[in-house]
């Protein structure tokens, strides 16, 4: 074998290797997801945002809950029969209020039991989605976060503090513009939380809970641990199945962009019931 042939062989192998690796990873993910679905008789939807580094120039790409994500998740919900339970696995720093609320409201409308699994963290928008679920299953050290709205880089609650503390004639116009938006945003999120928690056993603490979570009681990155979530009256438990944690390991920090919502294609219907025409 000539030295040139060895070079080509090496070239071909290194070109094919990432592709084969991806296939293998995809395959093991699919196998694990379908195992969880079989064990729990549910549809599994993952919403995983890992912060990526662009290999090209080294800029970090921040991934968050976007409208495309909400579209994908809702498509998956549509493809699920209304009595089939949904297991939503969340690993996200949060994202657009619009997209998060859309997912949350779709979950709230789903007839079957919806369980949110939080293996590691689901901040902000992720927490908003969890609030809509019938049950939140967290691992012992997983955290949720406050859902107070952010305007650009400023927390809405802090903008309102300025207005409360400083005489209005000395406040900058731009701050006042933001304050108006902040007021509306906080009100909207608080009402949404109440709506999402409606009908859940929270011992009449709904108003207080909505206020605590949406009015900037804490900074936006404050970790709400399992114990605190329980004390707040959220429907949490900590019996997270091992398979869910194993599944997360199959979503490593990627080096390239990849779709952030994943689920096995095809509708989930109860075997005995005739499947109604699914959207899709």
């Amino acid at each position: 074998m000539a030295i040139g042939d060895i070079f080509w062989l090496f070239f071909i192998l290194s070109a094919l290797q990432p592709m084969m690796q991806k296939r293998l990873l995809d395959f093991s993910r699919q196998r694990l997801i379908s195992k969880i679905e079989n064990d729990r008789g549910s549809r599994v939807i993952l919403l995983v945002h890992r912060q990526e580094t662009m290999s090209f120039l080294g800029f970090p790409v921040y991934k968050y809950i976007s409208v495309d994500d909400s579209e994908e998740v809702i498509r998956a919900i549509h493809m699920t029969d209304k009595d089939i339970p949904i297991d939503l696995i969340l690993h996200t720093p949060g994202g657009l209020v619009l997209a998060s609320l859309q997912i949350a409201q779709a979950i709230k409308k789903h007839k079957g039991k919806v369980t949110a699994f939080v293996p590691h963290y689901a901040m902000s928008g992720g927490t908003l989605i969890s609030l809509a679920a019938r049950e939140i299953v967290m691992s012992d050290s997983a955290v949720l976060g406050p859902v107070d709205p952010q305007l650009g880089q400023y927390p809405a609650a802090s903008v309102l503090k300025v207005i409360a503390r400083k005489p209005i004639k000395d406040i900058k116009d731009q701050t006042l513009i933001m304050a108006d938006q902040a007021e509306k945003a906080i009100f909207q999120v608080r009402e949404s939380v109440k709506e999402l928690m409606d009908g859940k056993p929270t011992n009449g603490k709904v108003d207080e809970l909505a206020r605590l979570l949406s009015e900037g009681t804490w900074t936006h990155d404050f970790p709400i641990t399992y114990e605190r979530a329980k004390a707040l009256g959220l429907p949490v438990n900590s019996n997270i199945p091992d398979d869910v944690l194993k599944l997360m390991a199959l979503y490593p920090q990627p080096t390239r962009t990849q779709p952030s919502v994943e689920y096995l294609p095809g509708p989930r219907t109860r075997r005995e019931a005739a499947s109604p025409a699914a959207n899709g």
Binding site: W8, K169, D173, I177
Partner: protein, 291 residues
């Protein structure tokens, strides 16, 4: 033959085969998707006997520098849509599929007015979201059909980064001698912008509800009582705004939107099958004579 096989199985041949796989296959795939889109649109057109126009703005994830590209309703879109409407016989119903975060008021209002002017029935399908300018377009249609989880948004105008309504709040709250000149300039524009959008919405809603009701709905949507990203769900839209909305969205509409996935490269955001749409057996309308 033997020679050909031998050359394929030689290492350089393999490289050539790989090249074909890496270069030719993606091209074939994009052709296939285009074909599927055309098929899906024409299936919907056949089923409803209408012209289907698709306006989909997906946020292209990143360009070369890692800056997210935001897509919105612009003049190119309104031009393409106006052309599509013009090439549609006036007795042929038009179905719009909207998936957009909104965009320029000018472009959106041009589209909305053209829809309002179309004599045959117009329907807007909102499979997922149609915020701001998208909502304005939806108001113009005879019928809005939303998915149960789809949302519309408020149509209050935005001046750059600032919502017009919030700028006006500053002028209300702060003594005028303390307000920055630029803010006052913006406030003047804000006032005009809100009045214009309200009037436009009212005009678009006229004929679908009593005038006082249209005025009230237009005011609610355009005066900034919510933040600009507030999701107006089907229930909210029905109750608060009193818009005529149905949720019977045909499966074909979803098929069409799935065939426009998050694109890797920029692609045109308005799609429709070329060629005029007639009702069978009727003479062509005068618009088509222009061609």
């Amino acid at each position: 033959m033997k020679r050909l096989l031998k050359s394929i199985f030689s290492l350089k041949g393999l490289v050539a085969v790989l090249f074909v796989l890496f270069v030719v296959v993606p091209i074939m795939q994009s052709w296939r998707i285009e074909k599927l889109r055309d098929d899906a649109i024409s299936a919907l057109e056949k089923k409803r006997g209408s012209r289907v126009i698709v306006l989909i703005h997906r946020q292209e994830s990143v360009n070369v520098l890692g800056v997210p590209l935001v897509r919105y309703i612009n003049i190119e879109d309104s031009e393409a849509i106006l052309r599509a409407i013009r090439f549609t016989d006036k007795n042929t119903p038009i179905d719009f599929i909207l998936h957009t975060p909104g965009g320029l008021v000018l472009a959106a209002s041009q589209i909305a007015k053209a829809i309002k002017r179309h004599p045959a029935k117009t329907t807007v399908f909102v499979p997922h979201y149609a915020m701001s300018g998208g909502t304005l377009i939806a108001l113009a249609a005879n019928e809005i059909v939303m998915d149960t989880n789809a949302v519309l948004g408020p149509i209050d105008p935005q001046l750059g980064d600032f919502p017009a309504a919030s700028v006006l709040r500053v002028v209300e709250r702060k003594p005028i001698d303390k307000i920055d000149d630029m803010t006052l300039v913006l406030a003047d524009q804000s006032q005009k912008a809100i009045a214009q959008v309200t009037a436009l919405a009212q005009e678009l809603l006229s004929g679908k509800m009593p005038p006082e009701k249209a005025k009230e709905v237009a005011h609610r949507l355009a005066s900034g009582i919510w933040t600009h990203d507030f999701p107006i769900t089907v229930e909210t839209a029905k109750e608060l705004i009193g818009l005529p909305i149905s949720t019977e969205i045909p499966g074909e509409v979803f098929l069409v939107t799935t065939l426009y996935p998050q694109a890797q490269q920029t692609q045109p955001s308005v799609f429709y099958l070329p060629g005029p749409r007639y009702k069978i057996g009727e003479p062509a309308g005068q618009e088509t004579a222009i061609r």
